[in-house]
């Protein structure tokens, strides 16, 4: 049943090679090697398209990609956990190096020093940015990072209730539920103005800035939590930390974030990387891989995966998590990004996003009928209360070649969540404002 024609350029064995191998094995055909498969289920019909050449698949994918509108051609004010920030050219060049991209997990340190040293840089840079003691080498994304942080807090405190501030991203809440409820842990929602914790509350989960873009009163929440023996788990935005105090400064015990804003393309939601940091006393309860510095037999410095007895390949069902990745290549992008942006660049990006978002907010709040329903300080994202339904407004934007914000009217009356970054020009913001001015009544 050998295919008569070869289709794959990725299989180098020739007919002659195959014949030689078959002869060496002393079998009559390859099929004989598959004899353990029940006969009635061997070689089922496989209904797939005919194979395409590289030229044809390239054309087909270009066609599909061009059916999508991108923020490159349509101004876009979407955020809600993924943000369009400037990515210096260097980032793509570094992660496209095959020595990083096509390497395996660094279980063999002698042939993985490039990956291991990069992860050590990643952990260091994230700790510096977050003002936390320890960072791991990365989680899947921001949502699973906060879910795993909740599980970790329950392990540390040996308590089983998780308080979730009602201002965190609904997508995060959904992922947290998926992760924690099967383990018999209980989630409950609390309002920032009325934080109720009890003796069973392991942690309180806070997003700062919250889903609506505003800062929470972390100082006060930390005080309430710690007085109750409850851990403060905070999810933050890494660009925000370029300008504002880090949660670590207020005593947060575990701080996580979506790493995408740090040089990672939007890519319709992934791959991203979850950033995960904690106080040093909790390191042995951390999920995920950790790299440490050590020495070799000739006393030269080098790096290895360490504290592995927390992990599934050693501890199996008693591991801190089942995770078996660190999104290493995305972590490499983060290192190239922070490395080239540096202290000044990150600060600059944060301030540009801040000023542009505040410019947009002040212009919008001057349009009759529009208002900002929340007080307090926001960073690069804010909610607008609209005189028309946000759904209609977004449709109107789209008809006029602009992608608006996130409709949050299920949570905030007539609320539209708008994100502005350094990528949005004044022209784009002014266009947004003029379209809002045009669309003030339900036509």
């Amino acid at each position: 049943m050998t295919p008569e024609t070869r289709h794959s350029p990725y299989v180098p064995n020739t007919e002659t090679d195959r014949d030689q191998i078959i002869k060496r094995l002393g079998v009559s055909s390859t099929d004989e090697l598959f004899q353990d498969i029940p006969k009635e289920h061997y070689l089922p019909k496989l209904n797939l398209n005919e194979p395409l050449s590289e030229l044809e698949i390239t054309r087909e994918l270009q066609r599909l990609s061009m059916l999508n509108d991108t923020p490159d051609t349509m101004p876009c004010f979407l955020g809600g956990g993924a943000y369009r920030h400037f990515i210096p050219s260097i980032v793509k060049h570094v992660i496209n190096r095959a020595e990083f991209a096509t390497a395996y997990t660094p279980y063999q340190p002698e042939v993985s020093q490039g990956t291991l040293q990069t992860i050590y840089e990643f952990q260091s840079l994230i700790c510096q940015l977050f003002e936390m003691d320890i960072a791991n080498s990365g989680m899947y994304d921001g949502a699973t990072a906060i879910a795993e942080a909740a599980l970790m807090a329950c392990r540390i405190t040996k308590k089983d209730r998780i308080a979730v501030l009602n201002t965190i991203s609904p997508a995060y809440t959904s992922v947290i539920r998926t992760y924690v409820e099967p383990q018999g842990l209980e989630i409950y929602s609390v309002d920032p103005s009325d934080i109720k914790l009890d003796e069973r509350t392991a942690c309180i989960l806070v997003q700062h800035p919250n889903f609506y873009g505003y800062l929470e009163d972390l100082k006060n929440i930390a005080k309430i939590a710690h007085e109750n023996g409850t851990l403060l788990v905070t999810s933050t935005d890494p660009i925000f930390l370029g300008m504002f105090n880090a949660p670590g400064k207020y005593g947060a015990d575990i701080v996580v974030a979506e790493g995408q804003p740090l040089g990672v393309p939007l890519s319709y939601g992934g791959p991203y990387v979850g950033l995960f940091t904690c106080k040093s006393e909790f390191v042995r309860q951390m999920p995920g891989r950790i790299v440490g510095k050590t020495t070799d037999t000739k006393q030269r410095e080098g790096y290895v995966l360490t504290l592995q007895t927390r992990e599934q390949h050693i501890r199996r069902e008693r591991a801190t998590s089942n995770i078996c990745t660190s999104e290493a290549l995305i972590g490499t992008a983060v290192v190239a990004y922070i490395g080239s942006m540096g202290r000044v660049g990150i600060r600059h990006v944060a301030e540009m996003a801040y000023h542009k978002a505040h410019y947009a907010a002040s212009m919008i709040s001057q349009i009759p009928g529009y208002s900002l329903p929340f007080g307090g300080t926001f960073f690069k994202e804010f909610v607008v209360s609209c005189p028309v339904s946000p759904e209609k407004l977004n449709d109107y934007f789209l008809e006029n070649g602009l992608i608006g914000g996130i409709d949050v009217s299920d949570r905030v009356k007539d609320g539209l969540l708008i994100a502005v970054t350094e990528m949005n020009t004044k022209e784009e913001i002014d266009r947004l404002v003029s379209l809002m001015t045009e669309c003030r009544s339900s036509k």
Binding site: T30, P44, A101, S267, Y268, Q312, G339
Partner: protein, 488 residues
Amino acid sequence: MNIEYNERRTLAQRSLKGKIGTTLPKLDVPAQDMPDAEDIRTDLFLPEVSEGEVVRYMTSISQMNFSIDTNYYPLGSCTMKYNPKVNEEMANLPGFANIHPRQPKSTVQGALELAYNLQVILAEIVGMSGCSLSTMAGAQGELAGMLMIRAYHVSRGDYKRKYVLIPDSAHGTNPASAAMCGYEVVTIPSDTAGNMDIDALRTACNEETVGLMLTLPNTLGLFDNNILEICKLVHDCGGLVYGDGANMNAMLGRTKLGDLGFDVMHFNLHKTFSTPHGGGGPGSGPVCARDILVPFLPSPVIRRDTDEELDSYSLDEPDTSIGKTSAFHGNFGMLVRAYTYINLLGANGLLEVSENAVLNANYILANLKDYYNLPYDRVCMHEVVFSAKNQKQQSVSALDIAKRLIDYGIHPPTMYFPLIVEEALMIEPTETESKETIDKFIQVMQIIAQEVLDDPLLLKNAPHSTPNTRLDEAKAARNPDLRWHLSS
């Protein structure tokens, strides 16, 4: 000056105040009121390095890695096959790389069509009814699959089930995922042929059985020839069968897990479908399920609606779903790569993958079994597990042999796994290596077998050719140094 140390200086050691690595535009809006001074950060300490220095640093450390493009990886259980370059180019098309996950559906129809097509293709390859692409790695696919089984039992009011059966040859992620579902693990031993001990399974199956987690072929590289009976035993006691797709490379086009009796399974796109490993991620772990479990698939699932012969695609969140497993829709960039690869191969190309993966593994088996102990001497699938227990008698371990391979430019095989094989060396040649490379590997392994007898110290001190010799892992764990500090 120690030159090597110099090349490996960290970003912190390279930082000099005033250096910048990028340029940014001037603010084009009027400056706004700043927030309260007490909220403003005054202690942001990050390295300051120029762009060229970052590039040279990262390029030079990258060259300390082995990688698929530079070295051969006969690495069992991880399918380190060649990663086609066109995949990368397709994932980087601006229409895929630059779209925001919350864009309105009318602006992302191309992305949704691709994802929908991939769902259909993956389900077809394993003979399942539905698929979700939202799980971001194999281990997360396992977790989602087991949560679906849990949701199924709960939906039937069947709350008494609490034991997950897992063979002793399984990956560590299997028991870890079962534990994350709140279940307890019952380990099923293997028999002398390397199959699951069917009598032990029969004894373990009862009304408290959640189901079975099984890798096929198993981690010994063997296709369990009792598979139909295994699935039947589990089903007969009301349990469901979960398939770990780590070893799908051997099965492509040869048989469908759904036909064999599996109820749910995950793929590792980074193993079977050639997306790069990236030094440990990002991967992608789509979940496919048969009809009874489809309602519980993780959200979102891509839906196609046809109206007057016009197709439109949308994200669907089924009511009975186990919920979301990622903030958005999974690792879309990896889906583009896998879709490119599968379309380049077609059905015949997939058969060619499994054919050559299995031929190459058996070729290695035949040529090395006189040199290394072969605990299960039967036809293998895509990988073969040897034991270095004979070499151990010369006080040379599997680890020493693995490290010695590095000196010959070959990445070590997976070692000490599966746990049931003493001094295990698990070798998966893959289909993307030429017979010439595999012949060289065989020859090197034969030379090493002789070196064990002639010069054991040569192996015990290996590798000799790398930037670092063996590293002190005990020291790393005892005195954790997990970061550098910069305080100005």
